[in-house]
Symmetry: C3
Subunit: 336 residues, 3 copies
Amino acid sequence: MEITAREIAQKLNGEIAGDPEVRISAPARIEYGKPGNICFFANPKYEHYVYTSKASAILVNRSFVPARPVAATMIKVDDAYQAVAVLLEYFQSLKKSRRRGGLLSRLFPRYSKGRGTHVGKGTWIGDFVTIGRNCTIGRNCTIHPNVSIADNVTIGDDTVLYAGVRIYSDCKVGSRCILHSNCVIGSDGFGFAPQDDGSYRKIPQMGNAVIEDDVEIGAGTCVDRATMGSTIVHNGVKLDNLCQIAHNVEVGAHTVMAAESGAAGSAKIGEYCMFGGNSMVVGHISVADHTTLAADSVITKTIRKSGQTLMGYPAMDADKYKKAYVRFRQAAEEKE
Amino acid sequence: MEITAREIAQKLNGEIAGDPEVRISAPARIEYGKPGNICFFANPKYEHYVYTSKASAILVNRSFVPARPVAATMIKVDDAYQAVAVLLEYFQSLKKSRRRGGLLSRLFPRYSKGRGTHVGKGTWIGDFVTIGRNCTIGRNCTIHPNVSIADNVTIGDDTVLYAGVRIYSDCKVGSRCILHSNCVIGSDGFGFAPQDDGSYRKIPQMGNAVIEDDVEIGAGTCVDRATMGSTIVHNGVKLDNLCQIAHNVEVGAHTVMAAESGAAGSAKIGEYCMFGGNSMVVGHISVADHTTLAADSVITKTIRKSGQTLMGYPAMDADKYKKAYVRFRQAAEEKE
Amino acid sequence: MEITAREIAQKLNGEIAGDPEVRISAPARIEYGKPGNICFFANPKYEHYVYTSKASAILVNRSFVPARPVAATMIKVDDAYQAVAVLLEYFQSLKKSRRRGGLLSRLFPRYSKGRGTHVGKGTWIGDFVTIGRNCTIGRNCTIHPNVSIADNVTIGDDTVLYAGVRIYSDCKVGSRCILHSNCVIGSDGFGFAPQDDGSYRKIPQMGNAVIEDDVEIGAGTCVDRATMGSTIVHNGVKLDNLCQIAHNVEVGAHTVMAAESGAAGSAKIGEYCMFGGNSMVVGHISVADHTTLAADSVITKTIRKSGQTLMGYPAMDADKYKKAYVRFRQAAEEKE
């Protein structure tokens, strides 16, 4: 299955520099491009590959002015990074779609489904999946093998649950979500009442967890249910692997959190935030929209001003942190 | 199902201020309280809700003196936080209990169980659970679907294993424990002998992991087995999600560890400690009872004095850390 | 099953000091050694146990000169730590090997296997395992229950997958690997193209993840698939529990990463590195061979010089970090 550079340029509203009839069969990383490949160039660190690549075509930003001759056909677009998503979607659509099971597996399904549960048309359910009672699963979902869905769970349309996802009772997952393997939705919040003898008594966690639409949740990530009410992950949020969302947290729409980051109980994170890997927000505070938190940093107080970039523990303005860290580092050179 | 404020006060040894006959049907968070709800007030940050809440009743500490009139009936108790646990348990008990399976599933169970394994009365086992050989599972346990229990495992009474829990061979779990989805008990410790060529040779991990009674373990948390002997999580310990307990660690009774915290190999953590999120203890050291470790901090040396609050990396007295951090931050303002 | 100290010394090319005929039945930790046990002494912190242990034999380094009389038979070897691995392997081999399933389970297997999939001789597959289409599983593998393997996966010989391992489509796992429970191989990389309205569009992750030979991967650890090409974990790498390997990362041969550590997208980690717990490397940089990174530290820039020990955030020379931290700590004592 091949496509010409000209056809790709048409798809992406791009402009051609070079041979428009060169034939492309697959995408590749710019370091590894071979004849027949189309590669992508957006990060300036990789510019030297543009001049040495053996790829047939390279997708670049319209603003890119090559410093040296480029052998490959260049396809110039407004935003190469956005265009990559579109182009990869095209190539992925060429791959065969998932099987929907043979006659035998439809007659003798190897999954289990409780009473009162309804599964929408076009939804595929893998082997050894368990779905509890009174659940509603939407249309065209893909539920990979070995998933567990407890009672009274609602899932929207076109959602994908990879193998080993766990959803506790009473939780809701929206439409067009992607939940990766072994993520856990709705486990008990970490709430205990200290007793007079120093031991702890569990506080029942009676609420649920709500994952809205277009959310992607990484492998192994945990979203706890609320003590009362709901832990909410709003529309379009992207959580990477091994993140922790504690009880009663709200994550605002279109916020992205990198791997191993977390939010402690009742934290309220704004919209369009970006959290680096291994960062966290302590409990019972709120974080303004458009906040960027550097990797391995901790927000310890409510952030009211939106649009800040924070770093350190406690998190402070990132530029100040870096400046202060230079001083910290210099101290090692001073005499004592 | 309704109950009056007076009846609740009786359950909790509380005192009424306001209408004792107001009818309560459900608990709610104080921000969202509606008529028919009972809410809880303990954290001073939420005091303003006490005066504006539409809830029918509010549980408060006996010491609370309202600054303004309160429309809701107040139920005053010695410790509102402890009382919440009792009250939520009451409301949870009103919800229907888990199904125990129909006749069909009892005749043709969809789980597997090895030879020599004994399961106590009243224990419910979900679909696609695997239990190895020579295991002993106590009474009235709930083993949710898709759990794996290997050979020679012992589990006490009234323990709950949520979907996807993994227990390796030879491990022990006590009574009244709650293990959340996808936690792993008894995986191999991380032990390798460096070889002369720089590669590593696995050191067989021949011990086991022992979880004592009344322990709660969060989703995705891992407790490794010992090289020899046992990794031990003592009575009443509460581990949050995604924690790491390495081989040969001991976690003292009634210690609580927040999400993503960890203890490296052979660390010995005392009783009644509290660890913040993402904190850790390095290997081969011990930590005194009643130690509090702030989030994202690292204990690097044995702590002998009990009752300290520590912060930073390496962890030091928390107040000192905060003071030093103020200086660190000021350095960014100084001229160079 | 017993063996004499003399026989053990022969196996290990060791020298005896004490009674060579003392009989050993099991290994034990030096703190808990009893008659019939052999214990190991390598860490100087534990020297006092050498003099008080009730064990029948103690394995020590040839260079060890006891300060006091030792009751146990000492077996002196070049490297006690290496010898432990050999000796524990011996004791483990005495334990009965895993069952290979009865006739019934061979006739009516309770796992599922897609068309075109080939499983090598001697491979055991537990209940409720799912293997997709067109997979190749090598010989003498052990696939514990409740594992999910998607389509087009290749696995070498003698590899062990513990319960709940998830392998996404198109991934490769080598020979003699050990993958612990609930680890996830090949989940989507965290790649999204920001749209003009601030939301994100998923970038399809079309590559795969490749785990080479002799790799051990801890419980709950995630290795994402590449956007294009492969995420690669090279020969002999050891990853502890709950680690995160992002898309397009390469982990060099014989590198070890402790629990909760991680590498962000496209990071390239050298060979023979050692990463402490909870440490991380940011994306798109490379780290020289033989780099040691302290716990809870973050490498933020390419490290070209091999053999360094780094600490802090951003990571700097570890000795300098410690010195600077002393100054930081002193600041808390100064008057303001």
